[in-house]
């Protein structure tokens, strides 16, 4: 059988109702050999669409107009159903938890091999090997609902590896992982590539973790010439806050969930205009700290000071904020609820998002949705902004834009707390970076604006 993956003049449009369909992919021709191939590009550049062609989700699952020819190990993608391509291609989605079928880690990882009719002994072996390869063998009997976001992402990778595919396709698998998780995943990918499995990965965070054998850069559904890159203006440097006025504070705070103390003796305060970054491993309690500040988690001990009004909260899942037909409608709704007389398009222009104003949030890429959600929560020009993993799925351009936005808010006097494992962002944003370790806060060494 002919090995390898080849694209010949592939053009694709998602189904569209009432609007002129735009090309998600335009005249793509390429071949993917062994090793690791990185697919990079801005949010919405067509990376996810390209990956979905490899296992036939495009066109079989998504429909739309597809032309050209794609062969995976000799199998024609258009004439082979996705479920049959599953024997050859393992796929890791951007949000693997949305695709979990089973209740426990072992059963979830076994789902693919079970579907493919592996015998029981082989399923056990594959589950064990897959979990070991991503460093979560100890979680085998855990319930998925008890895992952190990063642990769930690793379960998603293990589930893709368990069917022993020739090709593993990963769509931004590091977006929720902490440093250690990202490093471990990178090591895993190198190891499986060495063992002969083809790896195709779309990821914004590869630098510093993984060196790909080849890199494909995408822009507006097309391949860019190797090495070509859009110039991105460097992010602004944030000025120190001009005010000494403390507007939020946790004093001797213990935060408990279901009777278990997750964070203890937290003493932290922020001034008007100050940007503070909280880092920590997956499951360390970053989200819990933000929720405690927002009044969503009661304190078991200590006191909390925060503005009674004007607190904005960006949750990890931007979808909870976006359900209207256009991004501009969501921004207008925030302004209406807060009784503010501002123009939604001006808000989007200030945040460098005017180009998304008329788009349906459900049609946006993960990074674009994240930016739209930011616009929605920041439209009211809050006094305190709590941002939980705001760079999830964001490309370099979007991240730079985020820094610019936060600099602007800082100048207005908005205090911001960002929970993130994105070290680059932490370095760009804050003078002081705090790390949650063992349920308490410690200053992070070597990170922060010098």
């Amino acid at each position: 059988m002919q090995q390898g993956i080849t694209f010949e003049n592939v053009t694709y449009q998602y189904p569209a109702w009432g609007t002129e369909p735009a090309n998600a992919l335009t005249d793509i021709s390429a071949s993917f050999g062994g090793g690791i191939t990185a697919v990079i590009g801005d949010s919405g550049s067509g990376k996810s669409s390209l990956l979905r062609v490899v296992n036939g989700l495009i066109p079989h699952f998504h429909g739309g107009n597809f032309s050209g020819r794609v062969r995976v190990d000799g199998m024609d993608v258009v004439s082979t159903p996705t479920r049959d391509l599953a024997r050859r291609v393992g796929f890791v989605f951007q949000e693997p938890e949305a695709g979990f079928v089973r209740g426990t880690v072992a059963r979830e990882v076994a789902f693919g091999p079970e579907n493919l009719g592996f015998d029981q002994k082989l399923i056990r072996q594959r589950v064990t090997e897959a979990l070991e390869s991503v460093g979560i063998a100890h979680l085998v009997d855990r319930r998925i609902k008890t895992l952190s976001g990063g642990e769930r992402q690793r379960v998603g990778v293990a589930a893709a590896l368990a069917s022993d595919p020739n090709t593993v396709v990963l769509d931004e698998p590091m977006s929720q992982l902490d440093d250690e998780g990202a490093r471990l995943l990178a090591q895993t990918l190198v190891a499986i590539a060495r063992s002969g499995t083809r790896v195709i990965i779309a990821e914004h965070r590869l630098a510093g973790y993984l060196k790909a054998d080849r890199t494909i850069q995408m822009h507006e559904g097309m391949f860019l010439e190797a090495g070509s890159k859009h110039a991105i203006a460097p992010p602004p440097t944030l000025s120190p806050p001009s005010s000494d006025r403390i507007i939020w504070e946790l004093d001797g705070a213990d935060v408990a969930i279901d009777g278990t103390v997750l964070l203890s003796n937290i003493n932290l305060a922020g001034r008007e205009g100050e940007v503070m970054v909280i880092t920590g491993a997956n499951g360390s309690g970053k989200t819990t700290l933000l929720r405690a500040l927002g009044g969503l988690c009661p304190l078991a001990r200590g006191t909390r000071l925060a503005p009674a009004l004007g607190v904005a909260y960006l949750p990890q899942e931007p979808g909870v904020l976006l359900h209207r037909a256009r991004v501009i409608d969501e921004v207008a709704q925030t302004l209406k609820w807060l009784h503010l007389d501002a123009s939604p398009i001006e808000v989007l222009e200030v945040l460098d998002l005017a180009h998304l104003a008329q788009r349906d949030p459900r049609d946006l890429s993960v990074g674009e949705r994240q930016r739209a959600a930011l616009a929605v929560v920041l439209a009211g020009r809050p006094r305190l902004a709590l941002l939980d993993e705001p760079t999830r799925g964001m490309d370099e351009r979007a991240r730079t834009s985020l820094v610019r936005t936060l600099a602007l808010l800082s100048a207005y006097g908005t205090a911001t707390i960002v929970a993130t494992h994105d070290r680059v962002l932490a370095h760009q944003l804050a003078r002081t970076v705090w790390r949650i370790s063992g349920g308490t806060l410690v200053p992070e060494e070597g990170v922060g604006v010098s």
Binding site: A86, V89, P96, G99, V101, G103, N115, A312
Partner: protein
């Protein structure tokens, strides 16, 4: 969770006994065994307390409402004056006893159902399906996963909207939460279907990581549950009167084997299933 399938069968039997035998003794036995299962499975007190309080309140309401509203019976213990509409008339011991009997039936029914819903995760239940139904089980399991996901989504969306200034004033305001919950559910179903397709669901005959050996203990328990249905069926077929009523004068509950045999068989099955 061990023996989810056997527990499901037991709960079906317990519901049949509680709902078809209007006798306080059989209801009491179902309550005792249901709570024994909950205790044996080490369900935390924090989870059980609201259930116990709710059942207690329901029992008291049933007792009070029946006692005050039903004026049948011969043992009068007081009168509600005629100027109070709806409830005026004699208050009888028999009315309270009937209220107690109804309360026991309700508590038995809810306790039996709770011994399944609190102890067993939906995914455990569908994963206990036999090999021949594994495809149905996988589809059902994924559908059941949507329920807690929607509940979590409702909480997240409500919180996020409140930070944007939304206030839950009236039914119309709830649209701003309910519509995103429903849209999110549709989106999650699409993602789930995409994931299942990408992982080869529906390719051909499925195998399973864990085979469900028909363990003797499970078969024994299921056998007892099935046997408990025989006297109930016979009582129906032979038109044997077995219902206990306190009217016109209170009596000791029946000791007909049509009543105690199903309850005892069910109790034995419960003892077999209970340990984790």
């Amino acid at each position: 969770m061990r023996r989810p399938g056997a527990l499901l069968v037991w709960v079906v039997g317990a519901l049949a006994v509680a709902l078809t035998i209007p006798d306080p003794l059989s209801s009491a036995l179902v309550i005792v065994v249901s709570w024994m299962i909950l205790m044996c499975r080490r369900i935390s007190e924090r989870n059980l307390r609201p259930l116990a309080i709710g059942l207690g309140i329901m029992g008291v309401i049933s007792l009070a409402v029946n006692g005050v509203l039903v004026h049948e019976g011969t043992t009068v213990i007081g009168f509600v004056p005629g100027w109070i509409p709806l409830v005026s008339g004699p208050i009888t011991v028999e009315g309270f006893l009937q209220g107690g009997s109804i309360a026991l039936t309700l508590i038995a029914t809810i306790s039996a159902a709770a011994s399944l819903s609190i102890v067993v995760e939906p995914t455990d239940l569908v994963e206990s399906f036999p090999q021949s139904l594994s495809r149905v089980a996988a589809a059902l399991g994924s559908a059941l996963n949507m329920v807690p996901a929607m509940a979590a989504s409702y909480r997240s969306i409500k919180e996020a909207q409140q930070f944007r200034g939304w206030r839950p004033k009236g039914v119309r305001a709830m649209i701003d939460v309910i519509v995103p919950v429903l849209l999110g559910a549709i989106e999650r179903s699409t993602q789930l279907a995409e994931s299942m397709e990408a992982r080869g669901f529906g390719t051909g005959p499925r195998t399973q990581l864990i085979s469900h050996a028909r363990k003797a203990r499970n078969l024994f328990a299921v056998g007892f549950v099935v046997l408990s249905g025989v006297p109930i069926l016979m009582a129906h077929l032979t038109h044997t009167p077995w219902a206990w009523y306190p009217y016109p004068t209170p009596s000791i509950p029946s000791i007909s084997y049509f009543v105690w045999l199903p309850a005892i068989l069910l109790g034995v099955a419960g003892f077999v299933i209970a340990p984790d």
